[in-house]
């Protein structure tokens, strides 16, 4: 962690006093939680409706302030667990927004406590994500295509998270952390289509490319989805993927 370099650079106490005062911070964590509704092919983001000023009644990203002894990641997990119950998820740090004046309660002239936001990006399995409805609370999935105007700079954070989601999907196997243990190739394809748009690739080409990578293994089991030929169930083979890690893979 960065230490008091003021002192490091110039250890005279006098010149230290001449320097400007350090800012005091509270650190918040805001989560951009995505999910894919494979039934209706919608990309969803979890939003929370504020109860208090500022931005009363506005929707915002679910967030919390970091507690004593709590790591950033732990805080991200805590707020996530407060809103939804989910077993499988992918979570990574997104970006840190920390300029003065992000929070309207912090007047431009006042140099009191500043609120810094470390944003996290998560992808959860829709089918198993049960919303935790609390009394007097309001939490809901919103289609990413039609999000309202959010509190603070949360629209900006959401955009950045959406951008990251698309990138991650193309370059790393996060889809398989959110799909069921056993899945059909068409389910993978639907997920990619929903996030990246219809025209990202032809299904049969997507298929062969994905299989050629060699980390999906056919379980032999078949599953019928209404009419049509039964589909094979595949599973993600972590061992076969291991050597590919850190390599510039492209999945589409």
């Amino acid at each position: 962690m960065k230490i008091n370099s003021e002192i490091n650079i110039d250890s005279s106490y006098q010149s230290y006093l001449m320097k400007k005062k350090l800012a005091d911070f509270k650190v918040g964590v805001d989560n951009v939680i995505f999910s894919v509704d494979t039934k209706y092919n919608r990309l969803l983001v979890l939003l929370f409706q504020r109860k208090d000023e500022p931005f009363r009644d506005r929707w915002s990203l679910p967030g919390t302030l970091v507690r004593q002894g709590e790591s950033l990641k732990k805080a991200a997990h805590r707020i996530l667990a407060e809103k939804i119950a989910v077993k499988n998820l992918y979570l990574e740090q997104l970006y840190t927004f920390g300029g003065p004046g992000r929070d309207p309660r912090e007047a431009p002239e006042s140099f009191g406590v500043r609120y810094l936001s470390v944003s996290y990006f998560a992808l959860v399995r829709y089918a198993e994500a049960a919303l935790i409805a609390r009394p007097a609370s309001n939490i809901a999935w919103h289609s990413v295509q039609e999000v309202p105007s959010l509190a603070f700079d949360h629209n900006q954070i959401l955009d950045y998270g959406y951008h990251r989601l698309k990138n991650k999907l193309e370059y790393s196997p996060i889809a398989f952390e959110v799909l069921p243990k056993k899945f059909t190739l068409n389910e993978v394809y639907q997920l990619y289509c929903t996030v990246l748009g219809e025209n990202f690739s032809d299904y049969s080409n997507f298929r062969s490319k994905l299989l050629k990578l060699g980390f999906l293994s056919d379980t032999g089991e078949k599953v019928c989805r209404g009419a049509g030929r039964p589909a094979s169930l595949y599973r993600f083979d972590a061992e076969a993927f291991a050597p590919l890690k850190d390599k510039p893979l492209v999945f589409i």
Copy 2:
């Protein structure tokens, strides 16, 4: 910014009191400042030798604590400007390290002020980067291949920055922010070789790929580097690049 969601979720003051206390933070900015010595084909990182405990005499990334009214980016620029004088640079946020216990002065049991580090990643033009030698200060370029054991978790931050540098070089035109206004294609190639390693691409293929992208224009000027045919000087054409922005470009 994330607001006191404790209050949002459950506005009863009583249950608020039952929640754990919030952590108080000082926020530091640590810079991973890279430079390429094209003469000796070395990738360099700027390090600062600590004067005080903890980690006295150890090398560390140059950093500072954020002051009142100062944005994170501004703090990153300030510490950079304190160590080197440079006109052209590329700077972007890297990652935020904020777990408890990063700083040895913060005992695991003590829940006092916590030090959070927002790291920034910079690439500067070596030839024009003049180190600012201060009395009783120690600042120097180190080859990335042979960095010593750094203070705090700075080796980890450096690794992450190096990783980002390699990615950025492949996917965005940051090299041209650090090359002189007019440059030869071989200079670009040398820079890429130094950062990515010798075997990333054949020179003539690199050449044609880069030129085919269409945002380098031949100034017509020639320059002689000792023996051999004179090389053309090219310049980066920002207008020609503009439409390519936000597209998945590959430069190698």
